[in-house]
Symmetry: C2
Subunit: 110 residues, 2 copies
Amino acid sequence: MKNKQKQIQLRDVQDVIDIIGGRWRGAILASLCDKEKRFNELKRDLGSVTPRTLTKELKYLELNKLVSREVDASSAVSVVYSLTKHGKSLEPLIGQIVVWGQKHRKVVLG
Amino acid sequence: MKNKQKQIQLRDVQDVIDIIGGRWRGAILASLCDKEKRFNELKRDLGSVTPRTLTKELKYLELNKLVSREVDASSAVSVVYSLTKHGKSLEPLIGQIVVWGQKHRKVVLG
DNA sequence: TTTTGTAGTATCCTAAAAGATAGTGGTATT
DNA sequence: AATACCACTATCTTTTAGGATACTACAAAA
């Protein structure tokens, strides 16, 4: 049965990469590791992301319970995004990604 | 300067996800963590990948020095793919991805 | 009261990723 | 000699991600 076990692991890898993969999701999560942020704050952090994409990605991450969206009704139109407990469980993984990335630079295609 | 440091980290995350991201690259690397494999062996491992895609992804990983391709000229048309030293440095990261993936299942969209 | 900021939507469009399918040139098997 | 396996390549098509741009509704600041 250890061959079956391997198949399961491959699916795990694919699933996780589905979640944190894509142009922005990893960076969004990494940015929120730092602290909770508001929509435009994230937007500035990420640099070139469009609002359309950011909205979409945040919704995806919300759906996957990695990010929570809270409206602060008290004082203004203010929305705060933060990592859920589930999202925070990704922190060490993202930390390791950063460490690896700092050691091994990407090769760009000619 | 710690804000600049944050930007760099975000770029690292994006770069690493570029490398291991995509539908197949993570799984290919995970499969090769196990042991070196041949083309069709990988193909069977990954299940539904097409040869066109597998070829492309392997070439990308080769270009990034994560995977090496060796032709065994001695006995037959036999090609062996394996992790380079650089590729092996990803093993702990992939291991952590597997662990996280086994704990936290992906939510699929309706 | 005009301007600025916040938190998005809506529409359109393009480029890249990847599936489907067929074919190729060699080797090994029976 | 025929069949099957290996390691691909070629072509076509679909799907998806994500950029560009413009717009909205609301609130606070100047």
